[in-house]
């Protein structure tokens, strides 16, 4: 069965098409919307974006595979993007990442239904390192000891992947 955008997403895409001289620039937002609606960017989802914007499938495929936030496989409801870049590393970022791995029972790069755990490059919150980002929430000044509580809180009050598009 072929995929379809919700009425809301169609409205958003139509409004965005008014903001640019052609439809091509809307591809990034349309991919974000597709990921929100379908959970990940399957071949069918890419075809839907291509048809909606009148772009070649190969073009959409090229864009979807260039940027790290688009996922081509199913993942967790929430994605924890944990930075280990220099400022975070200097203040124990790898130890925090290891604590997330233990607490979630996931290796970095892995997902279960609840969570995806991603080792992220710098997320621009270096003054509060080690830090991670989950949807619209920045997790700041994390310690390995605080990881358990953070995960409990995210379970109670989740930030879904593609929370805002």
């Amino acid at each position: 069965m072929s995929l379809e955008f919700s009425a809301d997403a169609q409205k958003k895409i139509a409004a965005l098409c008014e903001r640019y001289p052609t439809k091509q620039p809307v591809v990034m937002a349309a991919l974000h919307l597709a990921q929100k609606e379908f959970g990940f960017l399957s071949d069918e989802a890419l075809k839907l974006v291509a048809t909606t914007l009148g772009l070649p499938y190969a073009h959409v495929y090229g864009v979807a595979t260039f940027y790290t936030m688009y996922r081509r496989e199913p993942g967790g409801k929430q994605t924890i993007r944990m930075c280990t870049n220099i400022s975070c590393m200097l203040r124990g970022g790898y130890e925090v990442l290891a604590a997330f791995e233990r607490t979630l029972g996931l290796h970095k790069g892995e997902s279960n239904q609840e969570f995806s755990l991603v080792e992220e490059e710098c997320i621009a919150a270096c003054a509060n390192a080690p830090c991670a980002v989950v949807g619209t929430e920045y997790l700041l000044d994390i310690t390995p000891e605080s990881v358990g509580k953070i995960v409990e809180r995210l379970r109670a009050k989740p930030h879904p992947e593609s929370e805002v598009v």
């Binding site: 903001r19 640019y20 001289p21 052609t22 091509q24 620039p25 809307v26 591809v27 990034m28 937002a29 991919l31 974000h32 772009l55 090229g62 864009v63 260039f66 940027y67 790290t68 936030m69 688009y70 993007r81 280990t84 870049n85 220099i86 400022s87 590393m89 200097l90 203040r91 992220e120 490059e121 710098c122 997320i123 621009a124 919150a125 270096c126 003054a127 509060n128 390192a129 980002v133 949807g135 619209t136 929430e137 920045y138 929370e163 805002v164 598009v165």
Partner: protein, 445 residues
């Protein structure tokens, strides 16, 4: 009057949760300068900015007014694009600026847009900054409703549209031509220059790309005058600077400070000194792309020109005895870059820190140019084995020759951004790398 440590220009509303709403922003005097600027001729605004000695806060420190002057006078359609794709490791100011004061950015963009006669303008914001994206979108909607944006803003007959465009995770999109490609719905790969964006940029039209902090200074310049802004700074650098201090200090943070403050004052007096009573080993002065300073070089001010020319900063070497040539015999000391200051204490494992930086560049190379695509990968692999204690006697020469082979041989500056810190750390912390390699020999024996 020169700025003092308490002078706040762009960060004046930090901590005021309400300031992101239009009503509060207006009650604090927001958009008053816009009304004044819309009554001015575009060239008069540009001249004020030129007189202010405002320099680009994204990394290169290029004079903003001069950059604006590159747009052809007879251009039919011009675009202004705000680069909010902040992702240079160590840099965390734009995220704060957008979160606390989105309308200041919008006001700056409308004024700059008028100066450039740019009618369809864009903010390219990093994909991961979902919270700030939501804040900005809301603020843009408010500005449209109030008539600050639209076909005929405030009844002046001036057209100005603003669209927030969200990225999806790619450091390279902070490079202005990669950003423009991404904005056009392409893979974020840099374009060959010339033509420069000011001649042929977004959708083939002349385009000016400015950093968030740069544009947020514009309303203040128009409000109090270019001469006032210039007087806050020193030499050819007007205004204050947002500095992001991270790493081994007691009080990391985002601070707005005068151009004249030295790294030693910044660390000891603003940030409460190095943590755990330790000493400084190395300081990255402006994001990881910039060559580091050692402890003996901290009395230099954070200002753009000082970091390039102050003789107290040792030049970067390709290898002992061979100075790195920026072209035409110009030596490379370091640069002020993005304002991301990363402090490393004297227990820091330098080879490991350098490996982590190289891992970043290897991950973020867009793959377009062979020297960068292959070279950053090799830098990461060789740096890793040195850091892991599995280095070979020739590895430092190998790292030098790979880095030297990348620098200057790629379409964009990402290649240089990987090569410069590699060579800089090898120049100033060679003994640390040699020790890492020697340790391994002992272990093997």
């Amino acid at each position: 009057m020169p700025a003092d440590w308490n002078t706040k220009v762009v960060s004046a509303r930090f901590g005021n949760e309400g300031a992101k709403s239009l009503a509060t922003y207006e009650s604090l005097g927001g958009y008053a300068t816009l009304r004044k600027a819309l009554a001015m001729r575009p060239e008069d605004i540009a001249n004020e900015v030129k007189a202010s000695n405002l320099r680009g806060r994204g990394g290169a420190g290029f004079a903003t007014g001069v950059k604006w002057g590159f747009v052809p006078k007879d251009a039919k359609q011009v675009h202004l694009v705000c680069n909010a794709d902040e992702s240079e490791p160590g840099t965390c100011k734009d995220r704060e600026l957008i979160y606390w004061d989105p309308h200041l950015l919008i006001e700056g963009m409308i004024i700059a847009g008028h100066a450039l006669r740019a009618t369809h303008n864009y903010i390219y914001i990093r994909g991961e900054m979902m919270r700030e994206f939501a804040v900005l979108k809301r603020a843009v909607e408010e500005a449209y409703q109030r008539g600050y944006l639209g076909k005929n803003i405030l009844g002046t007959g001036i057209e100005c549209h603003l669209t927030v465009h969200r990225g999806a995770g790619a450091y390279i999109c902070g490079e202005e031509t990669a950003l423009l490609n991404s904005l056009e719905g392409l893979r974020g790969q840099p374009r060959l220059k010339p033509p420069f964006p000011a001649i042929k940029g977004l959708f083939g039209n002349p385009t000016i790309v400015n950093n968030v902090e740069t544009l947020m200074n514009v309303p203040h310049i128009l409000d109090k005058g270019g001469a006032w802004f210039n007087s806050l700074g020193v030499g050819r650098s007007g205004g204050t600077r947002m500095l992001c201090v991270s790493g081994h200090v007691n009080k990391p943070g985002v601070y707005e400070l005068p151009m004249t403050i030295t790294f030693r004052q910044l660390i000891d007096e603003v940030c409460g000194g190095v943590w755990k009573g330790r000493k400084v080993k190395a300081v990255i002065p402006g994001g990881v792309s910039m060559p580091p300073l050692d402890e003996s070089e901290l009395d230099v001010p954070i200002e753009f020109d000082a970091l390039q020319t102050d003789e107290r900063i040792k030049p970067v070497m390709v290898r002992p005895g061979q100075q790195f040539d920026l072209g035409g015999g110009r030596m490379l000391r370091t640069m002020a870059g993005s304002g991301g200051v990363v402090v490393m204490d004297d227990t820091t494992d330098i080879p490991k820190a350098v490996w982590r930086i190289m891992k970043f560049f290897a991950h973020e190379s867009c793959g377009q140019c062979t020297p960068c695509r292959e070279g950053t990968g090799w830098l990461e692999k060789v740096a890793r084995r040195v850091a892991d204690g599995a280095g070979k006697p020739d590895d430092l020469e190998l790292l030098s020759s790979i880095a030297h082979g990348i620098a200057g041989n790629t379409i964009c500056a990402l290649g240089d951004a990987a090569a410069w810190p590699m060579l800089g750390f090898l120049t100033k912390f060679r003994a640390d790398f040699e020790a890492a390699i020697k340790t391994k020999k002992v272990q093997a024996a």
